[in-house]
């Protein structure tokens, strides 16, 4: 179901020149492993550090770091060794698909392996994305001559900060697009060169297909494995030729994911399942102080001591733990321990107080104060001259991640070594956290790769690995530490709450002339509250500094999750104030954003925008670009009952190019349901410093009987500038529904979750 919008051929030329630039400094490394296996890596080398970067780039000029590996073994199996975690988004399989295509290997012969979590597998691309905005590899020509220097810098930074990261919807568009494809193309060329040499024929006459080399003229045909060792001896290709879209054979197809079979027969090992083959394994239940910064003042474990299976009870200062023969026994005993906590200044923290603080900060910032995020034109003046002025304030709560698999870590500390099994999006940071907890060197920690039962940004923190390592060290056995769902809810790193105020103006033709927004959260990514793609001339976007004494973290799509709701609700209010259809209004303001317009039109068409609906039903539309993908969604809601029911969601996505269209569609469905669950039902509230919610009875989940049907349409609008899949489906969802509710019965929802207005 792909609609391919063609792009100018110059973009593919840019890709080739990127590879050339890349290899000018010998960025490709290759070697042979014992047994004749070829291994090829795409390396980065620190170039000539410019002045101020020099102190940070510690290594020498010859230091090479490889971050995308491919291995061919004697059985003609090709393994993609991927420095990213599989948390459901299918990225590892998709990256392998890209590799296989460049190498002309059939999908059956491909395996995927998580790269070991040691410094050599650093995702320098991820490092670049988050430390050097604007230096994205998929925006070529922006850094040009600085390229090698940045590579070196980010590699060092990445090593320092443990940037083996999965997140930012970046695995496919950076590691895949810029690392793995080049590795695959290089490997293919070296194999061809080896065969050409052996057969005494020109390389140009050799065809590669299905992991075989064939020379038609002489009738020779051999599997790749026959030349693996010889290939390693070949000269490194200066400019491996990566495929143009028209040559893609696997890329752009819904190749079945490699991890799915193990997830239907119970054999897939998640963090909570992983552990040593040891009779000494024991289990721990833990409870940390509910108020941020509090410590355990005293612990009364008199009942717990007498309970079945209990081996040890520990006060670790910041948390209490019970170690037992079984997790359930540990959790039962933990429930009987009476704990007193130290007093802290956070004991009086409440969401009510925080929101009052937000309002005060916004009052003070007014129309011009706060930190400026974008300023162009003169929105104050323009509002004064506007024919229609519109004002609105929106509010969203803190949100929990609620991964299906609660936080957990299995740690084994002995003899100066530590083994860790845990679901994490940052294995090197988790490794360092475990090393600190176990009192060993980071190099003596082995991270065992596992599947993650959901990440969504929650698993970007290392604290639970540190916790388990400390426990294992103190207790003296290998410990499987599992957080209860209650503990997981209480000790999350929450999506920030926010209040956002808007003032907008329309001229007598119903065209938006100004936009003035101030809100309270830090803007990560920085582009989240910005609206440059809309043709609105006078804009001010600011944020105010507020107190949020809560653990905050990246929640799927980060700041786009709240700004998607804020911006697209206010655009809708402007549309209605102008007396215009919300789709027409948006279209009229997208004259300079053809890709955005195409996506908006795609969604409207899918949804039958404008067709009659039953009484009490409504449609709403929303459009958000995030992580380099543009997504428009139309929600269809039924307001005839006593609660809103989202009947259908229509989603049109332009992610540049869908490497695996089924995977992209699945991740759109996923982002929509994840976002709607929160938008419809969820809030995390704090009182007396503590989170009030605990489990799925008070943090409600969307289920099969209230989830909408979802249709997804894909536009391949920019094959050389691919966007993410994991997060972009989420940001438009809440606004699409709120806008649909307004269309159905005139109720404008400005505060989430929606359910609180229909109690």
């Amino acid at each position: 179901m792909n609609e391919t919008t063609s792009t100018k051929p110059s973009s593919s030329k840019t890709s080739r020149s990127r590879a050339a630039k890349w290899t000018r400094r010998g960025f490709i490394g290759a070697g042979a492993l014992a047994g004749g296996a070829l291994i090829v890596g795409v390396a980065v080398r620190s170039g000539n550090p410019v002045g101020k970067l020099k102190p940070i780039v510690a290594g020498g000029d010859d230091e090479a770091l490889i971050n995308s590996w491919v291995k061919i073994d004697a059985d003609n199996l090709v393994t993609a060794i991927v420095p990213h975690c599989e948390m459901g988004q299918g990225a590892n399989s998709t990256i392998a698909q890209m590799l296989a295509d460049e190498m002309d290997v059939n999908w059956e012969n491909v395996r995927v392996m998580d790269a070991p979590a040691d410094g050599n597998y650093v995702s320098q691309h991820a490092a670049r994305l988050f430390v050097g905005p604007g230096t994205l590899p998929d925006r070529p020509n922006q850094v040009g001559f600085m390229e090698p220097t940045y590579d070196g810098l980010f590699t060092q930074l990445g090593k320092l900060a443990g940037a083996y990261i999965t997140g930012g919807s970046s695995s496919v568009r950076s590691t895949g697009q810029n690392g793995m494809r080049i590795a695959g193309a290089a490997a293919r060329e070296m194999l061809v060169a080896a065969a050409a040499k052996e057969w005494g024929v020109p390389a140009s006459e050799i065809k590669t297909q299905n992991a075989r080399l064939t020379h038609a003229g002489s009738g020779r045909s051999e599997p790749y494995s026959a030349f693996a060792e010889a290939a390693a001896q070949q000269e490194l290709p200066r400019a491996p030729k990566i495929k143009q879209v028209s040559e893609y054979r696997l890329m752009g197809t819904p190749a079945p994911r490699k991890d799915i079979p193990s997830k239907v027969d119970g054999s897939a090992i998640f963090g909570i399942d992983g552990g040593p083959d040891s009779d000494d394994l024991r289990y721990a239940a833990v409870k940390a102080a509910p108020v941020v910064g509090a410590q355990i003042a005293s612990m009364d474990a008199s009942t717990a001591k007498g309970m079945g299976g209990v081996l040890q009870i520990l006060n670790m200062g910041d948390f209490v733990a019970v170690v037992a023969d079984s997790y359930w026994q540990a959790q039962q005993a933990l429930g009987t321990i009476k704990t007193a906590y130290t007093e802290t200044e956070n004991d009086t923290v409440s969401t009510a107080k925080m929101f009052a603080g937000f309002s005060a900060a916004l009052d003070e910032a007014g129309d011009t104060g706060g930190n400026s995020k974008a300023e162009y034109g003169d929105p104050i003046d323009a509002l004064g001259g506007a024919a229609i002025a519109v004002e609105a304030e929106y509010k969203v709560p803190f949100l929990a991640h609620a991964t299906m698999e609660p936080m957990n870590c299995t740690a084994w500390v002995r003899g100066g070594k530590c083994d860790i099994w845990t679901s994490t999006q940052v294995p090197l940071m988790a490794r360092d956290g475990a090393a600190e907890g176990a009192g060993v060197n980071a190099d003596d920690v082995t991270m065992h790769p596992v599947f993650l039962g959901g990440g969504f940004g929650r698993r970007l923190t290392p604290e639970y690995s540190n916790q388990a390592a400390r426990l294992a060290k103190a207790a003296g056995y290998p410990i499987k530490m599992i957080w209860s769902r209650e503990e997981d809810t209480a000790q999350d790193f929450y999506r920030p709450a926010d209040i956002s105020r808007f003032k907008g103006g329309l001229d007598e033709n119903g065209k938006a002339v100004c936009w003035n927004n101030v809100h309270c959260t830090e803007d990560e990514p920085a582009e989240a509250p910005l609206i440059e793609f809309y043709d609105i001339p006078n804009v001010s976007v600011r944020n105010a500094d507020v107190e949020m004494p809560v653990r905050l973290g990246a929640w799927r799509s980060v700041a786009h999750s709240q700004h998607g709701f804020f911006v697209e609700s206010f655009v809708d209010e402007l549309a209605h104030a102008a007396g215009q259809d919300p789709f027409e209004f948006r279209s009229a303001h997208l004259a300079n954003s053809p890709r955005h317009l195409a996506v908006l039109e795609g969604a409207a068409k899918m949804a039958g925008w404008g067709d009659a609906l039953p009484e009490g039903h409504g449609r709403g539309i929303a459009l958000v670009r995030s992580f380099n993908s543009i997504v428009a969604e139309v929600a269809q809601v039924d307001m005839t009952g006593n609660k809103p029911r989202v009947v259908k969601m229509f989603c049109c996505v332009d992610a540049g190019f869908a490497m695996n269209p089924d995977g992209l569609a699945a991740q759109m469905e996923s982002g929509i349901i994840y976002g709607l669950t929160a938008a419809m039902y969820d809030e995390i509230t704090l009182k007396d410093g503590k989170v009030e919610q605990s489990n799925f009875h008070d943090y409600q989940m969307m289920r099969m009987d209230d989830a909408p049907e979802i249709s997804v349409q894909i536009i391949n609008g920019a094959p050389d500038n691919i966007g993410g899949a994991g997060e972009p489906g989420l940001p438009p969802a809440a606004a699409a529904v709120a806008n649909a509710i307004f269309a159905a019965n005139g109720t404008r929802i400005r505060e989430l979750p929606i359910a609180k207005h229909f109690a």
Binding site: L129, F130, V131, P133, L160, A161, A163, I165, G167, G168, D280, R282, I296, A301, T303, K305, G306, M307, G308, G309, V310, L311, I313, L314, N315, M316, G317, D318, Q332, G335, M429, D432, E436, G437, G439, G457, L460, T461, P462, N466, A469, R470, A474, Y477, Q491, D523, E524, P525, A526, A528, R551, A554, V558, A559, N695, F696, H697, Q700, R703, E727
Partner: protein
């Protein structure tokens, strides 16, 4: 996942600060403040039954833990329903002994429970907990039976102790 947020994580990792919730100390993590070693591995853990003889209601409280998955025992207003959503939900059992079956306001009992005509006492609770479906055919309490007679009486003793 955002650029600045991750930049913050970078900086904290590089500087070695504890802003991510790790314990306050810089270098190595602190030893336990208190460590109670109840038994070494391989030792027989203390039997649960000893507690039952001493104080049936206290033992019953521990046994009730399995029931707490679906039932609360809260005094005060509200049906105390642990979850209003799916199967596994049970009514608040505070004061259940002496109460007419199916009478907690706001809880969605099965028709069978409402029509059962039972008033809960030790005998009827014992029969119900031994085999819910046999005692009240059509009850939504499909799990939670307590096979062991001593354990049943401990839980009933505990429930009996819960009244205003």
């Amino acid at each position: 996942m955002g650029s600045n947020n991750l930049k913050r994580i970078f900086l904290y990792a590089v500087i070695g600060a504890s802003a991510l919730g790790l314990t306050a100390c810089g270098a190595s993590s602190p030893d336990p403040v208190e460590q109670i070693i109840v038994s070494e591995p391989g030792q027989t853990p203390p039997p649960v039954l000893a507690a039952i003889e001493a104080d049936p209601a206290a033992a019953g409280a521990a046994d009730f833990a399995a029931c707490a998955a679906c039932h609360t025992v809260e005094s005060g207003p509200g049906s105390g329903v642990v979850s209003g959503v799916v199967s596994g939900v049970g009514p608040n059992l505070f004061g259940v002994v002496g109460r007419k079956a199916g009478s907690v306001d706001g809880f969605a009992y099965s028709d069978a429970m409402r029509a059962s005509g039972l008033t809960w006492d030790a005998a009827s609770l014992d029969a119900f907990l031994a085999d819910p479906a046999a005692t009240v055919a059509g009850t939504t309490m499909t799990t939670g039976a307590i096979a062991d007679a001593d354990r049943r009486s401990a839980v009933i003793a505990y429930l009996s102790s819960l009244s205003e």
